[in-house]
């Protein structure tokens, strides 16, 4: 699974490049060159950027598909789930089929909601969000997750469901 801090690192790196570009533009903006000189150069650069960004986007898009969180895709990567935990969300608590699961085997959460939309999210013992899935009335969502470390995980609701949304907390022991 993807580490959010890595994603933040990517954002900061790109942000710094972008800010650098601006620095260069703004320093250059104090001088003056005619439009007829800048215009064609800019058009050529734009064309080059297009031929750079388009394939780049396609490659990133295709590569990103290995992280698809959907059950069929996950089972293809981590294997079929070894056990299944029923989860029902309601305002404002969780009903869990069991509160103890093994680590390092695929666990399937079968998730639904009784009243309004909620969202099952799993926070690891270090407090990092590792997986989530919506809990919806009238639907059953299946989330397959492999817990990579034993310890106490925290379940939170990540879909706003009213006044005690932030209190919808439960614990899951991973052995």
């Amino acid at each position: 699974m993807i580490d959010p801090k890595l994603v933040f690192g990517v954002l900061v790196a790109l942000g710094l490049v972008w800010t650098g570009v601006w620095g260069w533009i703004l320093v250059g903006s104090q001088q003056k060159a005619p439009d007829t000189e800048v215009g064609p150069k800019a058009a050529a650069l734009r064309r080059r950027l297009f031929y750079l960004f388009l394939p780049l986007a396609v490659v990133i898009f295709v590569a990103s598909m290995i992280w698809l969180p959907y059950p069929a895709a996950r089972a293809g990567i981590v294997g079929q789930p070894q056990l299944s935990v029923n989860v029902t969300a309601q305002q404002w608590s969780w009903t869990l089929g069991q509160t103890e699961v093994p680590s390092r085997v695929p666990v399937e959460f079968v998730v639904t909601a009784r009243d309004v939309n909620h969202s099952l999210s799993l926070y690891n013992p270090q407090g990092q969000l590792v997986a989530q899935v919506q809990a919806m009335p009238g639907y059953t969502n299946r989330l397959i997750h492999v817990f990579d470390q034993p310890g106490t995980y925290t379940i939170r609701c990540l879909e706003f469901c009213g006044i005690a949304h932030h209190d919808m907390v439960a614990r899951l022991t991973v052995k």
Binding site: P4, A42, F61, L158, H166
Partner: protein, 487 residues
């Protein structure tokens, strides 16, 4: 064909545009204070009750979205008024209807206790427990009015551009586009006119989706029909809500096309890439909303994939045409530093930075660990505060300065720097919170999370100082500008 005649917008249109933008600014200022309150609450500095937090959150979110859209609508009306004859009666009607909607939202949240969030997923409006049915209905009616007000505006724009250029295909420059720029170059609309028309078309679709969502809800409240399917409701809600906020930036881009030339001395022409980009936006802008439903695993897989394609796809024309265009206009232009030009630079920077945050989050695998964390407010605050709104305030400030003839002191531009720097710090701490897995829409933050909110407070204060300073400067110019606009 005749050359485009450029003239100051007719006095009544200009005044109405000022009313739109000034109203937007005042609401922005007030809602900003509510934002500060929420961040203070997150930091454990000033603790609100959960009830009040969520009411404030709901009011802040819907109020800001409405204010921001209103400001961009007004700005663009002034720009369009330079080349087109907009009906003042319909422009005024749109404003009144829109404003009524805002009134309902205020009543629903402050009096009725509605705290379901600015996008309350079905059935939450009817199952809130802390508010009654009437408050939920007032909120929905408010949305309906805002949507109808926006629809009137869209149709006014579309009617006017189509009439002026003799057909929708001409407004969208299709002959010019498909001929690779060889034909139809003599009668092209300006880039702001094309952008406004694209927004008007997509806006109509968004409003229809909103109606398809709201009408069954009223039926349900009246006991006429059963409950709307949760997944269908979610799709409709985000098709409406996401698209509406997304369109805001394209309206604001129309302001950039009009304002940047004044500060760089270069013309922003309707080139072939511009027509291609705006037509692509028309095609693609309805798709990204699917990224709101990535975590609804029961939604069909192709729709998830389409969401990621649309999200990536719509970024490319926006970046390569509007943002890149802005950069190349500024480069070696002898750019003048002033409040509007600083705000426009901040806006072009932030639109891209917020867009990068959005692109990352619109990647399905990343969304799995970012969805509904503060990363989400982080990215949209960036391209509102340091994007659409920076453009709108740049244009408002410019217009007031031009009309009032007030001279700009060097010190005055400090206000824009404070806005930019305070805003950047504020959104950065939002991003950090998201990366630390802090959930969005939580009235209470656990101690581990509070430090991020605490760190944001000084930046928010700097931002507020900038906003306040801009407010004072603009207020000082308003009366004279108003006189001049009507003359």
């Amino acid at each position: 064909m005749t050359a485009r005649i450029s003239q100051p917008a007719n006095g009544a249109v200009l005044r109405l545009a000022l009313v739109y933008m000034a109203t937007g600014f005042v609401v922005f200022l007030l809602m900003g204070l509510l934002g500060l309150l929420m961040r203070l609450d997150h930091g454990g500095i000033l603790v609100l009750s959960a009830d009040w937090f969520y009411r404030i959150m709901t009011l802040h979110g819907s109020g800001m979205v409405a204010a921001s859209l209103l400001a961009a609508m007004g700005g663009l009306a002034a720009v369009l008024g330079q080349t087109l004859r907009l009906s003042t009666r319909w422009l005024a009607t749109a404003f009144v209807v829109y404003f009524l909607g805002a009134g309902f939202v205020i009543i629903a949240t402050l009096l009725g206790g509605f705290g379901g969030g600015w996008t309350a997923l079905h059935q939450l409006p009817f199952k809130g427990f802390t508010w009654g049915l009437w408050a939920a209905l007032a909120m929905l009616v408010g949305y309906l009015f805002v949507a109808v007000g926006f629809l009137i505006y869209c149709w006014l724009v579309l009617y006017t551009t189509v009439k002026r250029y003799g057909g929708l295909h001409r407004v969208l420059a299709w002959r010019y586009l498909v001929s690779g720029g060889r034909q139809g170059a003599d009668s092209l609309p300006g880039p702001s006119e094309i952008a406004a028309s694209v927004v008007a078309i997509v806006g109509t679709v968004a409003v229809l989706a909103g109606a398809a969502y709201l009408v069954p809800l009223f039926g349900e409240a009246a006991g006429l029909v059963g409950s709307l399917d949760a997944l269908v409701a979610k799709n409709l809600l985000f098709l409406f809500g996401h698209t509406l906020v997304n369109l805001n930036i394209y309206l604001a881009a129309g302001l950039v096309y009009a304002t940047l030339p004044l500060y760089t001395g270069r013309e922003w022409k309707t080139t072939w890439p511009v027509t291609l980009a705006l037509n692509l936006v028309l095609l693609l802008v309805l798709l990204p909303y699917f990224h709101h439903l990535y975590q609804d695993f029961v939604q069909a897989l192709p729709l998830h994939i389409l969401g990621q394609i649309g999200s990536y796809g719509v970024a490319l024309p926006a970046f390569l045409v509007t943002i890149f265009g802005g950069l190349s206009m500024i480069y070696r232009s002898g750019f003048r530093w002033s409040v509007p030009s600083i705000l426009m630079v901040a806006g072009l920077w932030g639109w891209t930075f917020g867009g990068l945050g959005a692109l990352l989050d619109s990647t399905i695998g990343i969304n799995q660990v970012m969805h509904n964390t503060l990363w989400v407010p982080a990215h949209f605050h960036t391209y509102y505060l340091l994007g659409a709104l920076a453009f709108a305030w740049a244009y408002l400030y410019h217009l007031l300065g031009e009309l009032s003839g007030a001279s700009e002191s060097r010190l005055g531009s400090l206000a824009a720097w404070l806005y930019g720097i305070g805003g950047a710090g504020f959104i950065l701490t939002f991003f950090v919170s998201g990366a630390a897995s802090v959930p969005r829409r939580y009235a209470v933050h656990i101690p581990e999370w509070q430090v991020y909110a605490q760190a944001s407070v000084p930046f928010v204060l700097v931002l507020m100082l900038g906003i306040g300073w801009l407010a004072v400067a603009m207020l000082g110019r308003f009366a004279q500008a108003w006189q001049k606009a009507g003359a």
